[in-house]
Symmetry: C2
Subunit: 140 residues, 2 copies
């Protein structure tokens, strides 16, 4: 439990910005670390790992809520993995759905570009398509 990192070093290690680290502490996502006699934060490796976990999960698009759940679960090392698995699976489903929606959108966008128009905005299919949801083949 050595007190190794200043907040700046922690930021450099994890890629999370200094004010964001303080913000995370403020909202209770990470614990308040011990301080030096001069009131500066000092973090240990455990804190660093926890912040890496957070940074990575955020980068993967996990919402803040899921993060809190995951952190809570990850704290109970003897607990069953099922809950954690469920969160990951939910996220996986979300990702699948977003891929599907984006793929549909992709089709729409490229159809817009392909439909030849007469060179002026007035006759342009892009405007038309964007104004009229009915002409889309898919939902979004």
């Amino acid at each position: 439990m050595q007190l190794d990192f200043s907040i700046g070093e922690l930021a450099a290690e994890t890629g999370v910005k200094v004010p964001t680290i303080r913000y995370y502490e403020g909202i209770g996502l990470i614990d308040a670390p011990p301080r030096t006699s001069g009131n500066q934060r000092r973090y240990d490796r455990t804190a660093r790992d926890r912040l890496k976990f957070i940074a990575h999960a955020r980068a993967m698009g996990f919402p803040m809520d899921s993060l809190r759940s995951m952190l809570r679960i990850a704290g109970h090392k003897e607990a069953p993995c099922a809950d954690l698995d469920r969160l990951v699976r939910e996220r996986l489903d979300e990702v699948d759905e977003r891929i599907a929606r984006l793929t549909a959108l992709r089709g729409e966008l490229s159809a817009m570009l392909e439909s030849r128009h007469h060179g002026t905005v007035g006759e342009c299919r892009v405007v038309e398509v964007l104004s009229d949801h009915e002409c889309c083949s898919t939902e979004h």
Copy 2:
């Protein structure tokens, strides 16, 4: 140019909520419509189409900035389509990239689920993977 819709009717027609319509007016995304003698907003079909355009483009994930550009361009009916095309093409590229990133993420998530663990969080690969970016095959 008949004055047909109250703000509530416009909301019902377009799917954009009433306060959001007022917000759009406030930030100058749509024009301030004429008012009744009692100071209520009355919209015509042109305004409705414009709002539909906005709603649809937003639903397709166009950022607010692109929206403003598109609206500006769409207003000049005699202008060439090239600028509008460029916006759509940019968006298409963005969508392609997001699909690629999500697909990579999908792989990571399902790999997490597949790697068999021993039933407790302590040995769980999910925690490990989330803590350690190095073990990822891709960037996010």
